[in-house]
């Protein structure tokens, strides 16, 4: 009797949230899948099956944005996670003074708005911007570099912006995980004659594995859906070489003639990519 009552209690707590998730998450997901099978622009849509999915294979801009997004993914996630882990273990040092200040300073960027920090990065790296002024005054470069006007420098600026924005966020996860590692393990290692590097590779990294997995999946997911930076720092340029998939989806929907069917089909591809990558990461990360 008591268990039944408890069960009902439990369900009443869960149901409101579940209904909301279904209405606001799953229903739109299904609707957008149906939309991805339709063709036409604006309000004149007809059902055409998988033609939108076939269309992607001929779309040069889609292929370009796909490869751009993977370039960001590979560069950014790898560098960021290594940096976050490194910073976390530095800041976890018990002898360090002013720890709170450094933690705060590194975490603070991720409280800023995506759009405003993007605009600041754009002005920092403009031709007559701060970075060029500093570099020319230090005589490191002879004439200003057009950072946002060249393919690779534009991509690098976006990766730098992402690193600045997200490293602190991931560091907090690593810090939390590091504090759960029993210090006696390290003491035992010291007794056994391990040096700092060995302690890091043989103890810290294996103990952090679940956190590495978590942050890797989160960052992969975030990078595949990258939008604000592409839109606001480079506006996709030069010649679409820094545009992300999400930015392209936006352009298909809102710049020029709206093609929502095709845009939904591409967003389903992103969805599938996230799922595949997360699955691979879980297989690799979960050796047990």
């Amino acid at each position: 009797m008591k268990t039944k009552k408890r069960k009902i209690m439990g369900w009443t707590f869960v149901i409101p949230a579940s209904i909301m998730i279904v209405i606001f998450n799953f229903v739109p997901m299904i609707q957008s899948f149906i939309l991805s099978l339709k063709r036409g622009s604006g309000t004149n849509m007809i059902f055409t099956g998988f033609s939108n999915y076939k269309r992607m294979f001929q779309d040069k801009i889609f292929k370009m944005t796909l490869s751009n997004t993977f370039i960001y993914l590979i560069l950014e996630v790898a560098i960021m996670l290594v940096m976050a882990m490194f910073l976390a273990s530095l800041l976890n040092d018990k002898r360090l003074k002013g720890k709170w200040f450094f933690r705060l300073a590194i975490f603070l960027p991720c409280t800023t708005s995506l759009v405003s920090y993007s605009i600041i990065f754009r002005s920092l790296f403009s031709v007559d911007g701060f970075i060029n002024t500093i570099l020319t005054n230090l005589h490191l470069i002879a004439s200003p570099i057009n950072w946002l006007g060249n393919t690779w420098t534009a991509r690098i600026v976006i990766v730098l912006a992402l690193l600045w924005r997200w490293t602190g966020y991931n560091m907090i996860f690593f810090l939390a995980a590091l504090q759960n590692i029993d210090s006696s393990i390290y003491e035992a290692a010291v007794v056994d004659g391990a040096n700092a590097f060995q302690k890091f590779t043989k103890i810290t990294i294996p103990m952090l594995r679940p956190t590495i997995l978590l942050t890797a999946i989160m960052s992969t997911n975030g990078t595949l859906q990258l939008f604000d930076e592409s839109m606001n720092i480079t506006n996709g340029g030069p010649a679409n070489t820094s545009m992300t998939i999400s930015h392209y989806i936006y352009n298909l929907s809102f710049a020029g003639n709206p093609n929502f069917g095709y845009a939904s089909a591409i967003s389903y591809v992103v969805f599938i990519l996230v799922a595949i990558l997360a699955f691979i990461q879980m297989k690799v990360g979960d050796e047990k």
Partner: protein, 438 residues
């Protein structure tokens, strides 16, 4: 006890905060929903975007309409063009047309695509009693889709060469040397001005082909041919315009910047000695008051080899549209009819302050157009714009204008990075055809 007091204070603070949010958002967005309620049926909500230009024009129109209709208010909401387009798309596809205002300002180049995609969204003004023959014919042509008139034409985007007379004077030239010239002459003069004063003549947004499209139009050419197909590859006019553009970039006569704010900066900070753009840029140039008297206006250069080359073109321009589902539709139409579509008084008032060159023909006959402008050295610039406007070649605008523009911008960047011109233009053709094949 202490905790309870603290909690009470926090709750109070949050409530006040929320009330604060509520009131601000209702002044920003509330007017959208307000258009549905009985009380506000005398309020028209308008979306337009330029605080030095079309917003003051609309506010003047309100004053003029209020003389006969004192109970009608116009609520102008500053909304950037990109935002208007996004909001239109969202509202039209979701069927939530009550989120839209009563009147919007529509960019000429986007009108066709919006009317074609959302045929029922905009009010058909054909039988409204507005006399469309009183507007410049190329403007009414833009607003006419399948024989129906959809907009009340507003400003002209006729292009001009705005030039710093003090800078070219330093190099030994006068504005006459820049009048009615070809691009090759312009480049030659530009090199000399650059060598003598260190100032490039022009600036442009990298990857933004506005100048290039204006060059095409000056020769009666468009991004689309008469059948509506993309018109880049194998088109000698496009190739010539691109070559001229690239020559100017290579020689440092044209500096490229990355966004619109930097572009405005190059004009107002005196980085460049001239501007080629639609005449709506006047109010931006005039905003830099310490340069008063240093600017002159003349015709833009023409292409050397193109068969129909002229010194006149058009870039931009917009018109007012009424939303079909607006509960105040009739009032909105009546408002436009009695202001922008018939009041020369309105155009006389807004011309000196905003520089909005009207496409309402009777307005051009008024004295306001022959007034001298101190900022431009006492020149009668509005008369010039009106005269240039009569010479602009009519061209085909396409439903896929935005897509073509972005493809041309991409091609331009690729050519700068060393790609063969025809190859890049072919690719642009393919991109546009691909977008059109949806």
């Amino acid at each position: 006890m202490k905790k309870k007091i603290l909690a009470a204070i926090l709750t109070a603070a949050m409530t006040i905060g929320m009330v604060g949010c509520g009131s601000t958002s209702s002044s920003d967005n509330g007017n959208n929903s307000a258009s549905n309620t009985e009380a506000s049926s005398n309020e028209l909500t308008v979306w337009c975007w330029d605080a030095t230009f079309n917003i003051p024009a609309m506010e003047e129109a309100e004053k003029i309409y209020q003389k006969d209709h004192p109970d009608v208010n116009v609520n102008v909401v500053e909304t950037s063009w990109e935002d208007i387009q996004t909001k239109l798309t969202t509202a039209a596809t979701s069927g939530q047309t009550d989120t839209l205002p009563d009147i919007i300002l529509m960019n000429d180049t986007a009108l066709l695509n919006n009317v074609k995609n959302y045929p029922d969204l905009f009010a058909d003004l054909s039988d409204s009693g507005i006399d469309f023959s009183k507007f410049a014919s190329y403007k009414t042509a833009i607003g006419t889709v399948d024989g129906k008139n959809y907009n009340v034409p507003f400003d002209s985007g006729v292009t001009a060469l705005y030039i710093r007379t003090d800078v070219i004077g330093e190099a030994g030239y006068s504005i006459d040397d820049f009048t009615d010239i070809t691009w090759s002459k312009f480049i030659e003069l530009g090199e000399d001005v650059l060598a003598k004063t260190g100032k490039p003549l022009l600036s442009a947004q990298a990857g933004g082909p506005d100048l290039l499209i204006a060059m095409l139009r000056s020769a009666g050419d468009s991004m689309f041919d008469e059948d509506g197909n993309p018109n880049f590859a194998g088109n000698d006019v496009v190739a010539e315009a691109v070559e001229d553009y690239e020559t100017m970039v290579d020689k440092g006569i044209l500096v490229e910047v990355n966004d619109w704010d930097q572009y405005i900066g190059t004009i107002n900070n005196g980085t460049v000695a001239s501007v080629i753009n639609g005449c709506w840029i006047t109010s931006t140039i005039q905003a830099q008051e310490d340069q008063s008297g240093d600017w002159g206006v003349t015709t833009m250069p023409r292409l050397d080899n193109a068969p129909n080359a002229t010194n006149y073109s058009n870039n931009g321009g917009a018109g007012w549209m009424v939303m079909n589902d607006s509960p105040n539709k009739d009032l909105a139409i009546d408002f436009l009819k009695n202001t922008f579509a018939s009041s020369t008084e309105l155009y006389d008032t807004i011309l000196p302050t905003t520089g909005a060159v009207a496409t309402y023909l009777p307005a051009a006959e008024s004295d306001a157009y022959s007034q001298e402008n101190e900022f431009f050295g006492g020149d009668k610039i509005y008369e010039k714009f009106a005269n240039y406007g009569a010479e602009v070649p009519a061209i085909t605008l396409g439903q896929y204008w935005e897509e073509a523009k972005s493809a041309l911008g991409t091609a331009l960047t690729q050519i700068q990075q060393g790609q063969d011109i025809q190859e890049a233009l072919k690719e642009a053709d393919d991109t546009v055809s691909f977008a059109m094949s949806e």
